[in-house]
Subunit: 333 residues, 2 copies
Amino acid sequence: MIRAYAASEPGGELRPYEYDPGPLGAHDVEIDVEYCGICHSDLSMLNNEWGMTQYPFVPGHEVAGRIAAMGEHVSKFAIGDRVGLGWHSAYCNECSSCMAGDQNLCDAVQGTIVGRHGGFADKVRAQASAVVALPDDLPSETAGPLFCGGVTVFNPLLQYDLKPTARVGVIGIGGLGHMALQFLNAWGCEVTAFTSSAAKHAEALELGAHRILDSHDKEALKASAGYFDMILSTVNVALNWGAYMKTLAPKGRLHFVGAVMEPVKVNIMAMMMGQRSLSASPVGSPAVIEQMLSFAVRHGIQPQTELYAMEDVNDAIRHLEHGSPRYRVVLKC
Amino acid sequence: MIRAYAASEPGGELRPYEYDPGPLGAHDVEIDVEYCGICHSDLSMLNNEWGMTQYPFVPGHEVAGRIAAMGEHVSKFAIGDRVGLGWHSAYCNECSSCMAGDQNLCDAVQGTIVGRHGGFADKVRAQASAVVALPDDLPSETAGPLFCGGVTVFNPLLQYDLKPTARVGVIGIGGLGHMALQFLNAWGCEVTAFTSSAAKHAEALELGAHRILDSHDKEALKASAGYFDMILSTVNVALNWGAYMKTLAPKGRLHFVGAVMEPVKVNIMAMMMGQRSLSASPVGSPAVIEQMLSFAVRHGIQPQTELYAMEDVNDAIRHLEHGSPRYRVVLKC
């Protein structure tokens, strides 16, 4: 039996919940959860904002732990190996995207908490191909958030061949954004943090931003017309996207990694004159996660976390929902 | 004096109009116009749809002709050289975009018919850097449309490193689209023509399309879900862009070269799941125009044109506006 925390209805309190996962699949592994980050998408799923939550619902998709059991066809791990698991926990491994190494774009991809039980538990299962080993120098305590929030902001730098000469802006200095600042600084870029929170100015500079732009200051936005080669939006709320589009340099890209539900209206003529792009991407493939982990170790990049005991999961969720955590909340088993 | 055809008000008839261009600029050339294509943007400017037309207005920005005079600092041409001129007729040659070879994205770029007099005339002037020599094997009669419509659809293939293995769709089989089909076929791609005009099916196949997709057939669009690596939209009307977005393969791009004035609404979540992009670009740089001309000669690509005498310019405009020319209307001086 796996001992988890589950909600029985949208927005419901998480309560202890035991389930029998059945026999371990031949290509799957079982992970002893040591730590599990809480991501905004755990909240969105908990509240069934995307209409695809199944109850009882066990959140948790930023897992760091150890291999506890392996299916008969799994050979890449040994029992006790330190590993991580993110948003995706299984791929078809047959479609064009999988074959091209873009497993995160697999049509039949399975989400760790979509129709499956996640990592707010003592154990979690996943296909071995979706599980990535932790490098020796990466502490388990802070590794979890890299597997969803981290790779989500790291992946676009690789996907779009971002050059270290680029000027990059990050919208939203929170769970994702605070990792984006660190990655971009280490990538060699000129990094601007867009934030309306004065409290975060000094922190953003410490995390790697070279410049702060108050996103509520319309004049400051205007003064940055034509400036950025890339803007990474990590927020999930509607902003004045047209104003941000104008801050893009020729060939600039406004890239969404935050799950904005409202349609975004774009002015084609404004994009055309500067050959600008708008794009969006989800997490990253296992190979990209592996590259990110090496990069993070080499550059001393870690998520800043606040630790809660797993049994205090409801307090931790309230803190993420209503507080202003610095920056990622992590549960300890 | 230059003898041109000008409108004195929005949508007005073109009438003979003479003007004195003054002394020739040191970096400019004067071109004896032999042929000049008519582009939809000539109509948009004639009707002041973009709010930037100055009257008297001389349209014409798809010029093929010969060098008639050169400013003192121009050395790259000789009198009598066959050349072409497109949408842009001067660059600042100093800004970052110009220095990077992206003169078409220059902030201070001058349009051939924006605050200047265009090619519906016996002569037209432009900065030498915006004028490109015609290869020997390229007939002047059909060269003009390559300089605006042609490079507009050719440029994105270069800008986005389109691979010959790509599946590409073209929306709108008209002045731009009929050149796009030819370029894409020669580029090695699998080419689909989106058209609702049954009359154009056979023609599209002859121009280079491998497949036809009736854009009014909702079921056919649905059946193409996840298919295209790139869709080039050459139309300037609002379509159901969400439906086209769904036909994009993972990492696919919906690219606009047609001047759509209505805001385009995009669903970020739908783009995100497949790492899709939306982008737009204007014409191309002189270096790209030169590459396009060589490519066109090598592959026997030419615009299909209908020829009118310059003095019949109003008939020609009416034909473009209300008829269904195959495919580009060209005026002969």
